[in-house]
Symmetry: C2
Subunit: 282 residues, 2 copies
């Protein structure tokens, strides 16, 4: 059942399920990629299960969420698989930048049009097409999927949910970069990967997509009130205003005292997976 292109790198038991790491050669990214998967006990008993796709933030790979969020406990209880991709193309031949917020570890879930990035930095298509097809073929998934993510990955989750109509049953995010066309992280990344065409930028901006009337699945967002990036980078209130104006089915919660770290994610991941479970058929 496993495609020839897919290599199991490791598998360890976790909450009676399996935390796995896979490697494959991506045709979209022109490089070898790794990603992680959690299969709950139900999937090991050959049931096909629903899944949640998790997109990580700046500097992360597939291991941060896997090791720090405590998501497997809840996923095992709910019978959900977790699909956890990397955040950029990888390998020595892949163009990079010294900054933490551009290049490797910072793919921003866009299809780059500018050089030297366009050859490898096609993260939007990689995840929304190639990777989802691959895991659907290779793993005991039932096709029902929700999407979530953190910071840069929260941006990716919102954009993918808004653009891939009907693909995701629900969407959630922790401290998402909600309006990247109007913050320093987004400006830098979009200028670098996409050039100066601001019409193209809008296709990767959750607030702009909501304003354009794109249909959004049910939405949950948690934002820490003590997050150092809240004022300058995240545009939480702009997202709230857009969601309200366009009548999204949305809960956008400010969590007083919480920061931008995985301690914040761990504190609320159970809420998010329970939220997705209500929209996913098992």
């Amino acid at each position: 059942m496993t495609p020839a292109n897919l290599k199991l790198v490791s598998s360890v038991r976790c909450f009676n399920g399996e935390q796995r790491r896979y490697e494959h050669v991506s045709q979209t990214l022109n490089c070898t990629m790794q990603f992680s998967v959690y299969l709950p006990p139900q999937a090991l008993r050959k049931d096909r299960v629903a899944s949640v796709l998790w997109l990580s933030g700046l500097t992360c790979n597939d291991e941060n969420f896997s090791s720090k969020a405590g998501a497997q406990r809840v996923a095992a209880q709910l019978g959900l698989a977790l699909i956890i991709p990397d955040t950029s193309p990888r390998g020595e031949q892949v163009a990079d930048d010294d900054a933490y917020d551009f290049g490797k570890g910072a793919g921003f879930y866009v299809n780059a049009t500018q050089q030297p990035w366009a050859k490898h930095y096609q993260m939007y298509d990689y995840i929304s097409k190639e990777l989802l097809n691959l895991v659907t073929d290779a793993l005991p998934l039932n096709g029902q999927m929700s999407i979530s993510g953190h910071s840069m990955g929260g941006h990716g989750a919102l954009v993918m949910a808004l653009r891939e109509t009907g693909r995701f049953a629900s969407v959630s995010a922790f401290a998402p970069i909600a309006h990247p066309t109007e913050c320093p992280w987004g400006h830098k990344a979009f200028t670098g990967y996409l050039g100066s065409d601001r019409e193209l930028w809008r296709e990767y901006d959750a607030v702009e997509l909501i304003r354009d009337g794109k249909k959004c699945p049910p939405l949950l967002v948690d934002q820490g009130g003590a997050d150092n990036f809240l004022a300058e980078q995240l545009n939480f209130t702009t997202l709230q205003e857009a969601a309200e104006k366009h009548d999204l089915i949305a809960q956008l919660r400010l969590q007083e005292g919480y920061d931008h770290s995985y301690y914040f994610i761990a504190s609320f991941i159970e809420d998010h997976l329970n939220f997705h479970k209500t929209y996913l058929k098992s």
Copy 2:
């Protein structure tokens, strides 16, 4: 209330409590040390709470357990503080070794007698005396304490519970190095830190201390059946035999399929904290 010697390095909200990191100059170790603390919401409301002291394994510092075990969720529910020391003295002036299993990150919770280690590697006294006095003075703890740990830290937890009679209400361990005088890790560490006097080695060997009739508080041990170190390093069955022969109040569980990683610890930390809670007065 905080001693002048104690500096708060960071504090972030986690499950409505606080994950803190402290720094202090240790008189016992002759160097500056960091340690982590989780205070549950009950402690932030000024209640004095019971605590669990966690000793980490080889290569770890205080951050591995803090970020990977998922213990704060359970500690918040039970109203337990977590005290998480480093595993060795630190700093440029501290003697080190290139190996992962000796020197920094590998203090083995002993008081070294050999050079060049004796000046700084006094981890047994540091934790059992200096650090416990410090946190008892500085934090809202009620004095009730249990102890747990992983691998090298499981060894440390068992030895400390057996030697510090009456100090710990209960003891637990994940994959402990249960009989270090008879395994390669222990041989190397004890020869290096303690020299060739095997009578001194016995004071840091849980199985030998049990055989000597030391009183042990109620004990829970989990050992992964797929742990790569089980056969050569951990002596789980020797520990089982000693516990049985000496009528310890003990549960020693082999968990089929689990390895030596934090995915194993995360899967069973709730059991361990619930176990300790039954012996701790809040």
